[in-house]
Point group: C2
């Protein structure tokens, strides 16, 4: 990877590296959700969710489809779910995370 690519990759990873945004991706792994469903399930404000979704969309991790007054969110790239498996193992194996 050349410098420019590392910078772009860092942006994508930064978009994932946040508890709420990580939660969004995890929930969307189970299928489409509305914005309201997301912030209720994650227990954050509507404004927060809207801002975090924007970041996820910019990095093309999430896409949004509009239907009437609601917006439905879903994953762009399910390949990222690998990262969860990887993190899950890392936390337990190297950072002695307890369940």
């Amino acid at each position: 990877m050349v410098k420019e690519e590392r910078e772009a990759a860092a942006e994508v990873l930064k978009a994932l590296a946040h508890p709420v945004r990580l939660g969004v991706v995890e929930i969307l792994a189970g299928g489409e959700r509305t914005v309201t469903q997301l912030y209720e399930e994650l227990g954050c404000s509507q404004s927060m969710m809207s801002q975090q979704l924007k970041i996820l969309c910019q990095q093309k991790l999430v896409e949004i489809r509009k239907d009437g007054t609601q917006k439905y969110c879903s994953l762009c790239n399910r390949d990222f779910l690998k990262v969860f498996t990887c993190m899950h193992k890392h936390l337990r194996q190297f950072l002695n995370f307890q369940d």
Copy 2:
């Protein structure tokens, strides 16, 4: 993942989500390097490298072995290299990254 785990996972991802730290991991994929080799290859200051390595070590992405006056860095968990493949594809497929 429960909230606490998402927070821990976000910390690990944050450690990766930086151009220099990403560069370190990429270089170490090719084997052990000294701190000097790392900052020279990545073109950053010695102080920068030392601080970034600390973050990588805290999240157990990198480990350091001392030998005389030098320190040798290597990867703790090669499983993370998957993330690179994933990013490489994502940048090209969804963010139209040009080589």
